[in-house]
């Protein structure tokens, strides 16, 4: 960087201190499991996948201030692109890593393509349009049955491969480490974007579009990059999650509820803070995919939780918890658990 004349330019460094601590803690989980079998590293892989989606959504909602209510559509696009390019019933059969990379690119392209017509819209209208896209993508996947296999979903999907590691259903730890590594890479990437010229433009547009325009920033272009980065990461997360269960699942799995789960991750964790988003993923997805199912099992074992009563299945409190999380966070702690520091920007 010898040629740069910008005095304010400071390399962001790889990770902030909070992120280092967080990833260190995440690294410890499977190590502890070597001693005590807690059985949480397997479900925590979902947390890691959703954390990547959350980081993508955070670029759009947190950094650029665009409320996006259809991020699940891009998870679906990523998962289906990955599936179609890698599954043995299609002619492409690219393999895990090229497929993953292609899913990321297709997701980013789709994000830019769907984002382009929405750039003129005001905040709340943009939110509704993204919601509309989310629903349309879901129905398209359901109805274009010759390509997407309709409600069956596409399976099987390839497991990852990595030098010397085996990825099978009974080796969750190697998945865990690989997904954690991808999450760390994404964090480093977005952190560097955040502290680059692009990132500062995002913040400028978020704070005041008109003022940004006066500073010769083109809000359209800036919003488009944010939407593309966000959608690309969401697609990556979607593809990783699909690979985890070796199926895209049915299109109905990528519904509004998932978009809101991703939004909860960003808002509960700390809107605009990368550390916060990962904490948010731990809290929300941890509750959704680890705590509630375990609680349900325990209740069942104790003989209390029968499947006949809707009130005793913890899973049925999901909507309530999502809703309360959003309402209470907005009311009492709008910046989230880990508030983004203003001076960072």
């Amino acid at each position: 960087m010898g040629t740069t004349s910008r005095a304010t330019y400071k390399p962001a460094g790889l990770l902030s201190r909070g992120q280092c601590l967080l990833f260190g803690a995440l690294l410890l989980i499977p190590c502890i499991e070597l001693l005590f079998d807690l059985g949480i590293s397997a479900p925590t892989r979902f947390v890691l996948g959703f954390a990547i989606v959350g980081i993508g959504l955070n670029v759009v909602v947190g950094f650029t201030g665009l409320l996006h209510l259809g991020i699940a559509a891009f998870m679906a696009i990523g998962a289906y692109a990955f599936a179609i390019l890698t599954c043995t019933i299609y002619p492409f059969q690219l393999g895990f890593w090229p497929g993953l990379f292609a899913a990321l690119c297709i997701g980013a392209l789709a994000g830019a393509f769907l984002g382009a017509p929405t750039l003129r819209l005001r905040g709340d209208y943009l939110a509704i349009v993204t919601l509309g896209f989310g629903e349309i993508v879901q129905d398209l996947l359901k109805n274009l049955e010759p390509i997407t296999k309709g409600t069956q979903g596409i399976n099987p999907l390839p497991a990852p491969w990595f030098f010397g590691l085996t990825f099978a259903s009974d080796t969750p730890k190697s998945w865990y480490f690989l997904y954690l590594a991808i999450l760390i890479l994404c964090t480093i990437l977005v952190r560097n974007l955040e502290h680059s010229r692009v990132g500062r433009q995002w913040f400028a547009v978020r704070e005041d579009e008109l003022a940004a325009r006066c500073m010769a920033i083109r809000p359209d272009k800036v919003k488009l990059t944010a939407l593309a980065v966000g959608a690309g990461l969401a697609a990556l997360g979607g593809a990783l999650l699909a690979s985890l269960i070796s199926s895209t699942g049915e299109p109905g799995n990528y519904d509004f509820q998932i978009s809101i789960l991703a939004l909860c991750i960003v808002i509960v964790g700390g809107i605009g803070s990368m550390t916060g988003v990962i904490v948010g993923a731990l809290v929300m997805v941890g509750m959704n995919s680890i705590l509630l199912p375990i609680l349900g099992q325990k209740l069942q074992q104790a003989g209390i939780g029968t499947t006949t009563s809707v009130y005793l299945a913890p899973d049925n409190y999901k909507y309530l918890l999502f809703g309360l999380a959003l309402v209470l966070m907005m009311r009492f702690r709008p910046k989230g658990i880990v508030a983004a520091r203003e001076e960072d920007h």
Partner: protein, 328 residues
């Protein structure tokens, strides 16, 4: 199925579209009124509507258990008094609930950004969906529909199923269609007169134009907003009874769908405009019916959402909305 020249099919779909459109219009009024006043997309409105229909179902079940109505006669004889009572009771219930939602969830955020309010509204919507799921778990087996809490429940026809056009007519029009118009048209006229000629209505229009100026003129803005939520909720509650009676089924997840239809209608007509919401509701009802018949029902949601996206992108002021310049 693709026979365009079968006028009977077309007429039937038109009737279906108009009837459902009137219901959508009634819900859309709730969206458009709230948006007109505080620029909030009241995301929870559709789910409020869902809760209203659950109350209606519970009350019908209660009436059957008390012997007030004979389950065997459902769909044969008309229970006008029951329907009327339900419209009023569910309307008041939803109006009151909407008032509480505003008070506890939205009011503290009045000065926060528009997006935080929208996020809170989505949160409220999810809470209500969960309440609907739990409500569905209450014993409602009297009606025979759905043992599981999440399953859609059957709602009986409260008025006669006899075809008013004669037994041999292909097009079916029953009192269930008629009752929709009998309830919605007076409500819409009443609302229009209320907003035009009463003092509170004038205060509402003033607040919608400029809240600060209205406050300076002595309008109690908070009271006006509360009244708006109550009236919008009442209309949603009334619509929920009509919807349940007309479509014979209620489910805890129907609020999202109905809410999106109604919101699309409000935007199509021009959000903030009362006649716009009514027109938009009718149009969306017709579009849905036509798309069900001539495009395929699996594409109807795509059609409606595409319409929503296209209007928002190309004509965000809708058909009857006023052009607004972005304020700096």
């Amino acid at each position: 199925m693709f026979d365009w020249f079968d006028s009977d099919v077309l007429l039937q779909q038109l009737l279906l579209g108009l009837s459902n459109g009137m219901i959508i219009a009634l819900i859309a009024l709730g969206y458009t009124m709230v948006y007109g006043i505080i620029e909030l997309i009241n995301f929870a409105h559709g789910d409020l509507f869902m809760l209203g229909s659950f109350l209606a179902l519970t009350l019908v079940g209660a009436a059957m258990n008390c012997g007030l109505v004979d389950p065997a006669l459902m769909g044969e004889s008309s229970h006008w008094w029951l329907l009327g009572t339900l419209v009023v009771v569910c309307g008041i219930f939803c109006g009151g609930l909407n008032l509480c939602i505003d008070h506890f969830a939205y009011k503290p955020l009045r000065r926060a950004s528009k997006l935080s309010q929208l996020v809170a509204a989505i949160g409220v919507s999810f809470i209500i969906v969960n309440l609907g799921l739990f409500w569905g778990g209450l014993p409602m087996e009297v009606l025979g529909g759905g043992g599981a809490a999440a399953a859609p429940k059957d709602f009986p026809h409260l008025v006669s199923d006899v075809n008013l056009l004669g037994e041999e007519s292909f097009v079916v029009m029953t009192w269930n269609d008629v009752v929709i118009f009998v309830v919605t048209i007076p409500l819409m006229i009443g609302l229009t007169l209320f907003v035009k000629f009463t003092k509170l209505g004038m205060a509402m229009r003033a607040t919608a134009q400029h809240a600060t100026a209205a406050r300076l003129m002595g309008v109690d803005v908070n009271k006006v907003i509360a009244a708006t939520f109550a009236i919008g909720g009442f209309l949603g509650g009334a619509a929920s009874v009509l919807y349940a009676n007309y479509n014979s089924t209620v489910s805890f997840q129907m609020g999202f769908r109905a809410g999106m239809d109604a919101f699309t209608a409000a935007v199509l007509g021009g959000i903030g405009s009362l006649p716009g919401a009514m027109l938009g509701g009718l149009l969306i009802g017709l579009v849905r019916a036509m798309s069900d018949q001539y495009v395929g029902s699996e594409w109807t949601n795509v059609v409606v959402f595409s319409l929503l996206v296209l209007i928002l992108i190309f004509r965000p002021t809708g058909l009857l909305g006023l052009k607004q310049r972005e304020k700096v």
